[in-house]
Symmetry: C2
């Protein structure tokens, strides 16, 4: 077992090479070779190499003031950059959940923020009905959203600033953040001969063991079993990495554990909105061989008689042949994440729309209506089966 990740070795100026094969059957002779000549023997090796932010291959991408945000160090670097010089304008390329969170973060620091996205609406995992409301919220908060634009180059602008050139316009900004997602960091695994899955991430079983004896993988670099799609996929999310890491730890420590997979629960906050989703959408459902039907309904997160009542929107996707829930999305000023957590649990348990139509929730007027939006959405979608 090595105590540091390859990334940490690299940050310490060391390259890592791992030899699982040459030593033959003797476990003791499996070694990790570092670039300074050190050799570390191991019984168990855990690959936790994480992921690498995607970056477009455009001129100027290496300029100072161009950032990605994947870990704490990145966050500190961005913060230091903003503190060390007068910054007025920021551009974010991409419109996923990190891009949305950072749009709020930059704007809240007083930066004029522009989101540049090749698609038409932010947060494409979510239904267009919700995407439009996210766009409205960005506009309401004075964040500019440039739809259907892609970065072409980053040049030096006036007064040591940056000029982000897209396929349609030029933006003078102090900082450019690329939030285009990540790809699993599997170079070391591939070099070792550890098998990768169809997703491109390291193939693991329910114990987080790879195909190579004694070698485990966890986190963004590895695959997870998707309980709705019934296939392994790569889902680089922090809470999942945490859980996988614990499963690895228990297994190599001699206490059996398995990681039962994911349903794809996810959430983010955009200014006043809670945004959450779980499971799969119609397109993914169809690609899995399901026959999806869906509905979007709006209701009060808590009863209308309560002073604080706000609207919450719920989208449900179900399989028309079985009535089983396949996915859900929610958006609102309150009560969106809590509904998605219930629906994630329902997905985990393989529940159908009949279950959801009558699900026993802890009703009290400060918290929900007697018929919760979950019940109403399920009853509504049930009619389409």
């Amino acid at each position: 077992m090595i105590a540091r990740t390859p990334e940490e070795f690299r940050e310490a100026g060391l390259d890592v090479r791992i030899n699982t094969r040459a030593a033959g059957a003797d476990l003791r002779q499996r070694t990790v070779s570092l670039s300074d000549g050190t050799t570390l023997p191991y019984d168990f090796l855990v690959l936790a190499t994480g992921s690498i932010p995607r970056l477009p291959d455009i001129p100027g991408i290496e300029r100072e003031g161009v950032f990605t945000l994947k870990n704490y160090t990145d966050a500190l670097r961005i913060k230091a950059y903003l503190q060390n010089r007068p910054c007025r304008k920021a551009a974010i390329v991409g419109a996923g959940f990190i891009a949305m969170e950072m749009a709020e973060s930059f704007q809240s620091r007083g930066l004029e923020t522009t989101v540049v996205y090749r698609g038409s609406l932010p947060a494409r995992r979510w239904d267009r009905e919700f995407g439009k409301l996210l766009l409205q919220e960005l506009n309401r908060q004075s964040v500019t959203f440039l739809a259907e634009q892609e970065p072409v180059a980053i040049e030096e602008g006036v007064n040591n600033r940056l000029r982000l050139i897209t396929n349609q316009e030029e933006l003078d900004v102090d900082l450019v953040l690329f939030s285009l997602g990540v790809r699993p960091n599997v170079q070391l695994a591939a070099d070792m001969g550890v098998k990768l899955g169809n997703s491109g991430a390291i193939k693991v079983n329910f114990s987080q063991a790879t195909d190579s004896e004694g070698v485990y993988a966890a986190g963004d670099c590895s695959e997870v079993f998707h309980r709705i799609c019934k296939r392994y996929t790569n889902m680089p999310l922090g809470d999942l990495a945490n859980k996988q890491g614990r499963v690895v730890g228990r297994n190599i420590g001699g206490d059996a554990a398995s990681f039962p997979g994911v349903v794809g629960a996810q959430s983010f906050k955009l200014f006043n909105l809670e945004v959450a989703a779980t499971g799969i959408d119609e397109q993914e459902a169809t690609s899995c061989g399901y026959h999806p039907v869906s509905t979007v309904i709006w209701g009060k997160a808590i009863p209308g008689m309560m002073p604080a009542a706000k609207q919450v929107g719920i989208k449900l996707v179900a399989d028309s042949t079985t009535g089983k829930l396949l996915g859900a999305q929610a958006l609102g000023e309150m009560g969106a994440v809590s509904r998605i957590n219930v629906l994630s649990c329902a997905l985990w348990g393989g529940m159908d729309l009949d279950d959801l139509s009558h699900l026993d929730l802890a009703y009290a007027p400060p918290f929900s209506s007697a018929w919760d939006v979950i019940h109403i959405a399920a009853q509504n979608l049930r009619k389409k089966l």
Copy 2:
């Protein structure tokens, strides 16, 4: 099908008598007889006679200013009473969720409020650890809690006020509210020969049909199937009555429906606290033949780094032979009800502590930690199996 409930008929000054037998096989000759001589024929009869508040048999219980609170009319009566005379002090007998909600309500209106309870801590459905915090919250909000006291009589006090005499002291108050729970209103059903269940409420099947042909029942007067205890019980809660009513409506309207039962989810708000529970506690579990183990843990409802982070306590009860979840309770300034809703869904789906240890929830720092208190509680309890 009658358009009004027996209660409504009674409020209109009419007594109701129902004849299901005399007419023999001819459905058309089943009738409802009213005290004014009217006879209504029916194909389907729905008994929705609700429940009756429990009241102790003590002198003075009939005095003006003594109330129960079960429906909207009761609430209006209490409100009118408070508006029509100068009131300074209120006593509440009982310490269940209605008593707690009304303690907040009275105190918020500026009434000095005293809760009189024969037990030692409020909300006895909840663990004593939570009960102590409820008591603290009552004290913090200047509500007096008189433990281990029972009302003995209500007399006339000075200046047309009431004197509530308990087995230990005398309280001069303007209003006494009895919140001692309810019993199913089954007199009409019993007179008709409709079969009652062991709980004393009307016995129904999953279609809400009673043992008498053409006669259905729904709401507080009827039983519900408890999915954890696997037996029928009486659970007089508004959201359940709503659901049962819809099931009856669909069945008598020709669209088959069944009511799949309850897991016992419930919540209330007491000033700054969310209080919620679902499933069963150790005592009920033992009486059902389970072998319960339990844990109470405390964690942050959202990550400690977030400015708004507050503690939330979670109690889990599981069966030691199967690891299945049997019940849960939660209390905190935030995030208690949302956790109980997830755990209600887990109970509904028959999940065990392994499921809960890895459950995929929609993690983001504004809403939860990567390891939610649900995960931590489940992992903690799992060690006791």
